[in-house]
């Protein structure tokens, strides 16, 4: 079973040299820590930056330089700033190769819900709807079960949707799934996780090929 950093580490293996990548808030942010050496990746922050670097050293924070999570950040050589319209323009135009974000629920046909819980205070969708509607490749980082032990990989989402038919891959504490043909296709098991654990934690249609191996981190 993976912890948050394990999920981030596994997702980092999906990041290839030369990619432009948008990382959401939470676990996706951690992915930046595990991008392999020798791979050159440009991180896009949808508030208007390409070439996001690590957090600043203490005393070097700049109020004018934040990421989409409103955290102080730095830039790397070759970065570029731009306004919010161009930022979402390049997202919609498919120029961002990979989007990694969190989710509350994903359905077997790739619908995603991650912005609103009826009855609770709604904070807003931010850029999530634009990202999921536009990205060529979307990987979701999430816990597979909620605190009541219920699966969040569903037949169909119960929460209001963020986007439809868009999630391509999911990495959870239990495994890696490809979403296609209306099912969650198990690609890899997390270390120490049995197929039985995975079946119990998946409400939607699950496809398990005979040769599912444990993931390497």
């Amino acid at each position: 079973m993976l912890d948050k950093n394990g999920i981030a580490k596994r997702i980092a293996k999906e990041v290839k040299d030369g990619m432009y990548v948008n990382l959401g808030i939470g676990i996706p942010t951690l992915v930046a820590n595990y991008i392999p050496d020798g791979i050159s990746v440009v991180l896009q922050s949808e508030n208007g930056l390409l070439g996001m670097g690590p957090f600043p050293l203490e005393g070097e924070e700049d109020a004018d330089l934040i990421n989409a999570g409103k955290q102080t950040i730095t830039t790397l050589p070759g970065s570029a700033t731009f306004d919010s319209a161009l930022s979402f323009g390049m997202i919609r135009a498919g120029k961002v190769d990979l989007t990694i974000l969190g989710a509350m629920e994903v359905s077997e046909n790739g619908d995603i819900a991650n912005w609103k819980i009826p009855g609770k205070m709604v904070k807003g969708m931010g850029g999530a709807m634009d990202l999921v509607a536009s990205a060529k490749n979307i990987i979701v980082a999430m816990q597979q079960v909620n605190k009541h032990g219920e699966s969040k990989l569903l037949k169909s989402c119960t929460l209001p949707l963020t986007g439809v038919n868009c999630v391509k891959k999911i990495v959870t504490e239990l495994g890696v799934y490809e979403v296609k043909d209306g099912a969650f296709h198990l690609l890899e098991r997390a270390p120490g996780v049995s197929l039985e654990d995975i079946k119990k934690a998946t409400e939607g249609k699950l496809v398990i090929n005979s040769d599912v191996k444990e993931m390497e981190l």
Partner: protein, 235 residues
């Protein structure tokens, strides 16, 4: 060509009850602090505010919310703001949440003279309700209308007496697109210079979009999420 005004009070003097305002900024980054203070001082009420966020309790648009000056917020994310939440739940405040890219593009559309734009954001969600859906190359898009505001209020790093603006880092965010979307656009800048001092090739917002400009003062530039790393750790 008289665009320079003395201070924020003069810039906002004819903003009236019931008007629609665009306010630049992302979180607390790049917000027009001086104009927000002047609006609070002026006490004008019943405003519709188009702004990506709604500030925090004691800063940014949060200050206007405290004075109950806002009738409606049009935003993509309203963040952590107790007074905002109280007013929303009590029904005093109306909120329209729209996707961030749609918000930015609808402002830009006004500045580009485009009455509507097409975006895939929100297709298949409650955002699409009541909106026209149209297929291009096999993909569905929503038609969204341009935003125009009675006043757009933006913050830039430098500006000149012709209204040309340059922004700094990610404090640019919504400011350039909102500057284009105002019937009247007010810009407050950290440094106001004479025409001719800024490189024409480096202007982010050409002065044709800016009607009033002044050099602001006492910028607090509050940081919402101060996050630092320690040596030898990446994040």
């Amino acid at each position: 060509m008289k665009k320079v005004v003395a201070h924020a009070d003069e810039a906002v003097q004819d903003i009236k009850e019931g008007m629609t305002l665009m306010l630049g900024g992302f979180g607390l980054c790049g917000i027009p602090e001086n104009c927000i203070s002047a609006l609070v001082k002026k006490g004008v009420k019943n405003l519709t505010c188009i702004s990506n966020n709604a500030g925090v309790d004691d800063f940014g648009i949060g200050l206007m919310l405290q004075q109950k000056q806002v009738k409606k917020m049009i935003s993509s994310y309203v963040g952590e703001n107790a007074e905002f939440e109280r007013q929303l739940l009590s029904g005093e405040l109306e909120v329209e949440l729209i996707p961030q890219g749609t918000l930015a593009t609808r402002c830009m559309a006004a500045g580009y003279g485009m009455p509507a734009i097409f975006t895939p954001a929100g297709v298949g969600t409650e955002v699409a309700e009541g909106k026209e859906i149209r297929k291009f190359n096999g993909k569905d898009y929503l038609m969204e209308l341009a935003f125009e505001a009675d006043f757009a209020i933006v913050k830039a790093w430098k500006g000149d007496t012709m209204g040309n603006l340059i922004y700094k880092w990610t404090a640019r965010n919504f400011n350039p697109v909102m500057a284009m979307g105002g019937k009247i656009t007010i810009a407050e800048v950290e440094e106001l210079v004479p025409a001719g001092e800024l490189d024409p090739d480096q202007i982010h917002t050409p002065g044709i979009y800016v009607h009033r400009i002044f050099q602001g003062k006492n910028y607090e530039k509050r940081i919402e999420q101060r996050t630092v790393r320690f040596e030898n750790k990446t994040i």
